[in-house]
Amino acid sequence: MDAAAPHDEPESPPAGEKPSLSEELYLPEILKGLATTFKHLIRPEKFTVEYPEKKKPIPQNFRGEHALKRDAQGRVKCVACFLCATACPSECIHITAGPTPPEWTDREKYPTKFEIDMLRCIYCGMCEEACPCDAIELTSKFYQVSETREEKYFGKDTLLRQPMKREYPDQG
């Protein structure tokens, strides 16, 4: 084998190599294993984060519940292009488009209804990727509890009320 080739497969142990006597006997290996587990047993630091009292910091790019953003005038930024609904692999975005109110002179199309079925959503973030207007965002809202299924069917109002990612960097 060419020793210089850097990307060779790591060598597998030569075929037919017998396990050593201590391996054959099991017992020394078992004792080694028991020693290892015992070390962990008495090790004081544990990895568990006791959730409601302690929270892990949520990374900035965490994909939590969606928010619809607003533009400078406080209007919904979305132009109802349906690209998020097109990209969505779980087909959980339901938009109804309509002409904008006459006072919105700069835009002609907006969503009269914008619904996301959060129970179908897989939080993949494809919608955010697809949006040409930066109008939809997955916030870092982590704690998502509701008592009914209907509550998880988010309408435009709910989505517009969601906190923005920037303002809640590590909120649970």
């Binding site: 292009c81 488009a97 002609e108 207007c133």
Partner: protein
């Protein structure tokens, strides 16, 4: 025949053949915006560039839509073009860059996105960046017609719409106004585009400049499902595509059929779909009753129960008074298969003597410059009904039935095949009111349904499969685009289940096997002379003429059909 070469391969075509159309017909795609087979060649979009040589051509790139096949003169070489030469590719890139200079690129909010020539070409042939940094022109956005609105910013001034109004419709409401980069399409002053073919401009506009106001923002095109259908709004039977989204009809588009409607359809037919989703659509059968106070009270019932009851009631009348006491009224909006089953049930099984045909009232016959016609007969299948029920029944049957009712001879009737949004003539209403038993199969809560003792919900043509026979005698297929509301079912199914309901009226019709429209058509073709030799599969997307029909009644002039290439 003249020989010429495309991409090094030799072809043969009659002299005068348009090269662009020839290539398109032979699976050599050349991008084009302004060229349309129905319209005169304008050669203004510069998209269909090819590299040509031979004949008297100066070597270089040129538009293929303006080239036609010619015999080389003495000392001239054979015509030869290349569609993917490096010069051609570069030229296309340049043209696209020019087209996009003032184009807003608002595809996300543009209804055309997904079926836009400019979008597709930009992806396939364009450059991925623009060198243009100056601010873009702003052009007008306004209504140009009853159904059509223009987004001037998106217009690429291909003049398809202008030529269409001029050449096909003959009204010429549109023109290109302003000059240079401010070029845009507009109405002639005071001449809104309100001809009956106006919405075809939306279909032929290669970009999202002309858009249908009724379809605006209704759905993105890639979400819609399309079924091939036939327009029922007049006896021409334009071939159509039915686009549905989330179980609702969103728009109709014409489907090319050179023998019927070429590329077009009229606005009457195009917008005649509101009733498919109207609030008065029937989803459940209902039975008339009377409250204690004597007022009419409707109770909902199951489809099986209703069908069983209809059959029982009709059989009881036949039993007591003979078949002549029962009449059947079908409509010219029913498919050939339905009419055939109707005849089988009423005449052969129940023994009714009088069958009549209901028709929508006639409209005005309109002919357009290039031969497109809107027939005065506003029923899709009067010709089929005449062949199947018999000319006598189709023409005089209704009058006979009305007479029979007034004379007291006819006691019960089945009325089927509701005509959408139809106001029945008063004499019909008056007569039906007299019947001891009236069953109505209708698509909506119509005035006729209000007279019935039992109402059974039927399906509109977008909700079922079948065939219509248009005025030329062309049998054309339409396909199911969505499900009927509630328990409503195609009339083919209802009629078969009525026939299967036992004479005793036991509602066990569900167990019977319901034949598809295709099987019923097979039976029809075997038994009715006019349909002999036809089969459902062969009718295909372009239709087939009845035996003996010339196709003359509403056929387009031969010239128009030929120009389609």
């Amino acid at each position: 025949m003249t020989k010429f070469k495309v991409n090094g391969k030799e072809y043969d075509a009659p002299a005068g053949t348009n090269l662009l159309q020839f290539c398109l017909d032979h699976q050599i795609y050349i991008p084009h915006n302004c060229y349309h087979p129905a319209l005169t060649v304008a050669g203004n979009c510069r998209m269909c560039m090819v590299k040509g040589k031979g004949l008297d051509l100066r070597p270089g790139v040129m538009t293929s839509c303006t080239l036609s096949v010619r015999e080389p003169g003495p000392k001239q070489e054979m015509l030869e073009i290349e569609t993917e030469a490096p010069e051609v590719i570069k030229a296309r890139e340049g043209v696209l860059e020019f087209l996009l200079i003032n184009h807003p690129l608002d595809c996300p909010v543009c209804d055309q996105a997904g079926e836009c020539y400019l979008q597709d070409y930009s992806f396939t042939y364009g450059k991925d960046r623009s060198r243009f940094v100056e601010p873009k022109n702003i052009r007008h956005t306004k209504d140009v017609g009853d159904h059509v609105k223009i987004w001037g910013n998106r217009c690429i001034v291909c003049t398809r719409c202008v030529r269409f109004c001029e050449e096909v419709v003959g009204t010429g409401e549109l023109a290109v106004v302003e000059r240079g980069d401010r070029n845009v399409v507009d109405n002639f002053p005071g001449l809104p585009m309100s001809n009956l073919m106006s919405s075809n401009t939306v279909d032929i506009c290669p970009v999202g400049a002309l858009l249908d106001k009724e379809f605006l923002y209704q759905a993105r095109v890639w979400f819609m499902e399309t079924a091939e259908s036939v327009c029922p709004s007049c006896s021409v039977g334009c071939n159509t595509k039915v686009d549905t989204y989330q179980g609702a009809v969103k728009r109709f588009r014409p489907r090319e059929n050179q023998a019927v409607n070429q590329w077009w359809m009229c606005d009457i037919g195009r917008y005649n779909h509101k009733f498919t989703a109207a609030p008065d659509r029937l989803g459940l059968p209902k039975r008339r009753g009377t409250t204690a106070a004597g007022a009419v009270e409707w109770t909902r019932c199951s489809l099986d129960g209703a069908l069983g009851d209809v059959r029982t009631a009709l059989d009881r009348v036949v039993h007591a008074e003979g078949g002549a006491a029962v009449a059947g009224l079908a409509s010219a909006w029913m498919s050939n298969e339905e009419l055939w089953l109707f005849k089988g049930l009423m005449a052969d099984m129940i023994g009714a003597r009088d069958l009549g045909l209901l028709t929508a009232p006639d409209g005005v016959r309109t002919t357009f410059k290039k031969g497109f016609v809107i027939e005065s007969d506003r029923n899709p299948n009067r010709r089929g009904a005449a062949e199947i029920l018999g000319r006598a029944a189709a023409e005089r049957g209704l009058a006979t039935v009305l007479d029979g009712i007034h004379a007291g001879r006819i006691k019960a009737a089945l009325v089927i095949g509701g005509i959408p949004e139809w106001a029945p003539p008063p004499e019909l209403v008056a007569a039906l009111r007299k019947l001891a038993f009236l069953a109505v199969v209708d698509v909506a809560d119509s005035p006729l349904a209000a007279l019935a003792h039992l109402v059974i919900p039927g399906a509109t043509w977008v909700e079922k499969d079948g065939t219509f026979t248009n005025a030329q005698g062309r049998v054309q297929r339409f396909t199911r685009a969505l499900a009927p509301p509630g328990v409503a079912a195609a009339e083919t199914e209802l009629l078969q289940r009525l026939a299967a309901a036992s004479a005793a009226g036991a509602p066990d019709a569900t167990g019977a096997k319901v034949l598809s429209a295709q099987s019923v058509f097979g039976d029809l073709a075997a038994r009715v002379a006019a349909f002999a030799g036809l089969n459902y599969h062969d009718i295909g997307t372009q239709g087939k003429l009845l035996a003996g029909a010339t196709g003359a009644a509403a056929a387009a002039p031969a010239g128009a059909a030929a120009s389609g290439g």
